[in-house]
Each structure stands twice: as C-alpha cells, then as structure tokens.
C-alpha cells in the first residue's frame, strides 16, 4: 500500500456486487478511465474511511479481468471495524478512489512444476495465477483449504477451468495440507505460491526450509496475513518520551505512533522491509509477530517488533507493550 504517488489515484465506481459465500463478497470496480490490465498476482489499492480516518487497503485482483473491470473479493470479519466492514457497507454505484494494479506477487514463467496453495480468502491472488498457468499449459496443482464446503469461494469456477488440478482441503472434514509431503513430491526447480492464514504460511515455510530447496522458489503473499491472535486494543508505553499511546483494534501500532507525533521511519507497511521495527523493553501479554522480516529465531527472542503489522494480545484487557525509540543522541 506504500509507494503510490498522488497522481496514481483515480476515480472509479462500484458497478456490481456478488456474494461468493455467506461471508466473502466480490466487488466489480470500473475505473472512470485508464484501465490497466492486471498481471497474475496483482493487487489494487482502495482509499477508504475507517471511522474518522482516511486509510488505504490493498486487495488482490481476482482473475484476469479481460473486460476492463477490476474484481476484488473481501471477507467480512465479524469483529472487524476496519476495511472489510467498510467495504461491506458499500452499495452498487458507490464512488471509489483506487490506485491501479501493482504486482508484489508476480508469477515466474517456465518453471518445471508449480504448487499453488490457498487458504480461505487467500484464494484471491491464487485464482488468477491458476488460470494463467492453465492458459499457458504449465504443470501445476492447486490445494485450496477452508473450513467448510460452503466457504470454498470460486470453487465452481475453478473446477470448470482447471478440473481436478483443484484439490479442496476442508478442515471440517478433517483434511489438512501436509506440506512436508507436498514439497517432497514437487519437481526440482518447481515453485510454490501460498496465500492464506499465518499458520498455513508458516507451515509452508517450515516444510520448505526443511527440504533445503532455494528459499526464493517459495512465493507468498502477505496482505492476507492474519496474526495468531485476534486484533485487540493495546497500550504502547515509551518511557524515553514519557508517552502512553492507545492502539485501537482497527489501526496499526505504526499508525497510532504516527498519529501521536512519534517519529518512526517506515516504508512497506506490510511487514516486509523491517524499517519500522522498534526495540521491545517489556510486554504485558504476548507479541503477535505478523511480519515476514524477522526470522523465527528473531521473533522468539522478542527483541524488536515490526510496528506496521505486529500487535500485542492479552486475554481479557490490559494488553500493553513498552518500547524504545530512536529519539536520542548517541
């Protein structure tokens, strides 16, 4: 969601809504001019309002959109007062402000084999990648996990387009992806594309690391990444500045720090670059590391957290973290 210049934002209109499952809704968005053909793995950005605040959310484009209309799909999260709740309030005809497709999850062509893994709403980028691979005649399999069959968004479309290369994994039926086995059967030089909840991403990463395959051949998209814990409000204490800042459930710690006037350097705002990381002095609760910048070992040490995505959780109330900042001379 970073790296958008002012002139990239353009007016658009919500032209259609379709519920893919009881809690996943597809939105068709027509730009007023200048449609850009999205490549597989692309996302668009939407400017939206969360409470009183203007904010930006990135959504993967669903499918190739050859008809000049962007499609995105958004899952309604009952506890969310953030982006998904806002999107679900929009009526057909609503005016939107969007930024055109950009791609942080591009597909590499010409690999000997591909394994696609989608979990829940993580289907959104994987869908277009699957269609692109099918169109290119590339060998691939797609594992698609969700809780129950009625949550298998785009399942029928996929069945029609890619046939039995689609393998549903319904957890209510006791079926879970065995990443160790799946990685072992992938052709040498093959790539894996994963998008899903953090547990799925971590399982994929661990199996991949254990296999000794080159790390760059495991591809993952991170916006979907939830934490291990629910997003709850917490308090940030900064003894150096004698400040105490409240982070609401629907805002990031970085947003709250910036809104409070605390100087923080940040760039990607999606837990990838590590620039916004700050030292942890103490925690009441647990740090829910949601970034992909720190290694597992670094996360276990709990010395720093990426403030753009990571949070603090505690049962009941009273979640808090004490941090330091760079506001000092050496």
């Amino acid at each position: 969601m970073a790296h958008r210049s002012a002139e990239e934002w353009q007016p658009a209109r919500l032209t259609a809504i379709r519920d893919l499952t009881p809690d996943i809704r597809m939105f068709e968005i027509a730009p007023e001019s200048g449609f850009v053909q999205p490549q597989p793995g692309s996302h668009i950005d939407l400017a939206l309002r969360i409470g009183e605040r203007a904010d930006v959310r990135s959504y993967s484009v669903v499918g190739p959109c050859r008809d000049g209309v962007y499609r995105i799909a958004v899952k309604r999260l009952p506890t969310s007062r953030g982006g998904s709740a806002y999107m679900w309030t929009l009526p057909v005809g609503a005016r939107l402000t969007i930024a055109p497709p950009a791609n942080l999850f591009p597909l590499t062509r010409g690999r000997p084999e591909y394994l696609l893994v989608a979990g829940g709403i993580g289907i959104t980028p994987i869908y277009g990648i699957a269609l692109a691979l099918a169109g290119a005649g590339a060998p691939f399999r797609m594992l698609y996990g969700c809780r129950s069959r009625d949550q298998l968004a785009l399942g029928e479309e996929l069945r029609a387009r890619i046939g039995d290369r689609l393998e549903p994994y319904i957890s209510a039926e006791g079926k879970r992806v065995d990443f160790g086995r799946e990685v072992a059967r992938l052709a040498p030089g093959g790539e894996v594309y994963v998008c899903g909840p953090i547990g799925m991403m971590e399982a994929a990463k661990h199996a991949w690391a254990a296999s000794g395959r080159p790390p760059e051949l495991l591809r993952f998209e991170t916006f979907g990444s939830s934490g291990r814990y629910a997003s709850v409000p917490f308090v940030v204490r900064i003894p150096r500045l004698d400040r105490e800042i409240r982070v609401p459930a629907e805002a990031s710690m970085l947003d709250a720090l910036e809104a409070a006037g605390v100087g923080v350097i940040a760039d990607c705002r999606r837990g990838e670059c590590g620039l916004c990381a700050l030292p942890i002095l103490g925690v009441e609760g647990v740090v829910d590391h949601r970034d992909v910048f720190f290694s597992d070992g670094e996360k276990a040490e709990n010395a720093k957290l990426c403030t753009c995505v990571s949070r603090v959780w505690r049962a009941g109330e009273g979640a808090a973290i004490t941090i330091d900042t760079a506001d000092r001379e050496m």
Binding site: G34, P38, Q39, R109, C268, G274, V292, F294
Partner: protein, 357 residues
C-alpha cells in the same frame, strides 16, 4: 510509453549470440534497460537493468554462478529476477525482484520479448534463417544506439532507389530508378519486387559474376513486422531465364536487417550481407563486410550518416514529417503493418505497455 511507435508483444534482436557470455551486457530495448548474460547451462537470461533496492544498473555488478550481484549493496537476483540475498537481514523481502524478460537464441541473434511474457512464443521469432551461417555465408555486425528512429531504417531498406544516390559507385545505378516495382503484402509481411532486365551490371555485381555482357538484376525485399528486412538481391546473365526462376547462372546475395527500437529516437541496427556464391572465400567475406561497414566509408556507413542526419532534421522541423512518393509504397505498407500490430496490442490490453509488474 502510451504513444510508443513500436509494439511490445514481439521479439526484437538485442545482441549477436557471440556477444553474450559470462560478462554482464547492457542493452536498451523499447525504452527498457536490460542486462543480458549467459547462464551456466548455456541459455541467455535477460533482466531489467535496475536493482530493486536503489535502481543502480545491475550491469554494473557481477555474476556469481547464475545470479547477478548488485554492485552497490550486494543484493542478488536469480535468472528469473527473484531476489535471493539481502544484506544485514536473515530473511528476504518476498516482494523483492526485478522483471525478467523472455529470450531465445535464433539465427545467431539473441531475441528479447519486451511485452507480456505470457504471450512470448518462440515460434513467433521472425524468419531470419539467411543469417544462420549455414547455407548463406557472411559476417555482419550491429550499429548499436544508431541515432534514428527504427522505422527510418525500415524506410531506407524498403526503397532501394536510394542506392543510386547514396551508394553511387558500388551498388547503385540509374537502372534502379528507371525500373518499376511491385509491392505485395500479408498481415505480417511486405514484399517489394523489382526486376531490372538487360542492364549493365553495377561494379560490385560485375566483379562477382565474372561473366561478360548484360544482366538481369533482381531485388526482392521482404519485410516482417515490426523490424526485420531480408533483401534477396543478385544478377544473372541476360537470357539465362533468371526472371523465370532459374538463377543457376547468376550470383545471389541477401542483405539482412534486424532493427530494434532502443531509447527514444534511437535504434539498434543488426545487419549482415550474406551470399551463396564463393562460399569458401574468407577473404571475400571480409571484403564484403568492409564494403558495408569500415571506418565510415562502407555502404551502410553511408546509410547511417543519412539516417542520423534525417532524424536530426525531423527533430528540428516542426512540419508534417514527410511527403511521400510512389517509391515509398513498400515503406508505407511496412509502417501500416507496424501500426496495425500496435493497434491490435492496445485493443487486447489497453495499457499493455505499462501492464502491472
């Protein structure tokens, strides 16, 4: 790039195969900076020539195995453009990468596809078999970054009337301007055919034919959109039925051009002149090469001088760029096929040139 005068979903020659080895080579194709190198399996890799991190040209770095190491902070990219190493951190940002471009080697040239990689079909590489170094013999070269728009070179080659004036004394003579020609086309090719019957052979051809008397001279120039020209040229003694299809008594050559848009109004002009006569005569091969390009005096040097001067004049004269003559029919058909390729590309994907990457 929305108004670019070239299609992107096509193969362009970017280098001679022998020029791409284990050193990083830099080329600009269709206003896109590229770095080219040969992988250890012998195939050619082409990446965007700008580091993901701070845009330093990767061509200023070095190869380690099949990976490019940026010469600034040591980020590494594999041949697919994926970042495989970042300094001072234990993980790799999953978004990090540079664009990789499809490339194939065909007809002794490296061809690059600047557009949508999903459409890059090696069977679409233009026919350039005369350059294979097997049946036809010749050693060419490239004018890299020639300071004219690529279509000016196409114009030049599609109308050989200019030989009479630009190349007087070698291959030009008055017969060219006095003989009518025929232009035919499909949706991908244009052919300009000219037969000059019972004429005096110009000096180059007279020498190589080595037979007395008048000749029938042919020029059959084939353009394949957007930037390849192959000109089948030669002479045979008049009366030996060459126009009817028997060229066995004559001598036959073919001038070759693979022209690639570079940056702005510049292009790369890969050229060759190949022949089927005196195939084992290495001295003749060198002499023909020198006759085309040699210290500014070769026939192609004469063209390069004219083309760059023409581009400068276009840049400084605000009027409608050209008037056209009857002799420009081949060039105008070539330009129409190029325009149609661009139009088809825009219709398929309105902003293919800036498709999200």
């Amino acid at each position: 790039m929305g108004d670019a005068a070239y299609p992107r979903n096509t193969w362009y020659a970017a280098a001679w195969c022998h020029e791409i080895g284990r050193a990083l080579a830099r080329r600009t194709v269709c206003d896109t900076d590229l770095v080219l190198y040969r992988k250890s399996d012998g195939s050619v890799a082409v990446l965007e020539d700008a580091c993901w991190h701070r845009l330093l040209p990767l061509s200023l770095g070095w190869l380690d195995g099949d990976q490019v190491v940026c010469g600034y902070h040591g980020l590494r990219f594999n041949a697919a453009g994926r970042c495989t190493h970042m300094p001072a951190q234990k993980t790799i940002n999953p978004s990090a990468g540079v664009r990789a471009f499809p490339a194939v080697e065909r007809h002794r040239l490296v061809w690059v596809w600047p557009g949508d990689p999903a459409l890059a079909d090696p069977d679409l590489v233009p026919d350039f078999h005369w350059n294979d170094g097997t049946d036809w013999i010749g050693e060419g070269g490239t004018y890299y970054d020639l300071k004219c728009e690529y279509r000016l070179v196409v114009d030049n080659l599609m109308d050989l009337t200019h030989e009479t004036y630009v190349h007087a004394g070698s291959i030009g003579n008055d017969a060219i301007t006095e003989t009518p020609f025929e232009v035919t086309h499909t949706d991908r090719r244009v052919t300009v055919t000219r037969w000059m019957r019972d004429i005096e052979a110009p000096p180059f051809w007279a020498r190589n034919l080595g037979k007395p008397g008048n000749v029938d001279r042919w020029q059959v120039i084939r353009f394949e959109a957007p930037g390849v020209v192959a000109g089948d040229v030669g002479v045979a003694p008049t009366g030996t039925r060459a126009p009817e299809g028997d060229r066995s008594q004559g001598v036959n050559g073919c001038f070759l051009a693979a022209i690639t848009p570079a940056r702005g109004n510049t292009c790369h002009y890969h050229w060759n002149f190949v022949r089927t006569f005196k195939r084992d005569d290495a001295e003749l091969t060198r002499a023909i090469q020198r006759a085309h390009v040699h210290e500014g005096k070769g026939v192609y040097d004469q063209d390069a001088t004219v083309l760059e001067a023409q581009q400068r004049a276009i840049d400084t004269h605000p009027r409608q760029p050209f008037y056209n003559l009857n002799i420009d029919a081949g060039a105008l058909w070539a330009r129409r096929l190029i325009d149609q390729m661009i139009a088809r590309e825009r219709a398929d994907a309105p902003h293919q040139a800036v498709a999200a990457e």
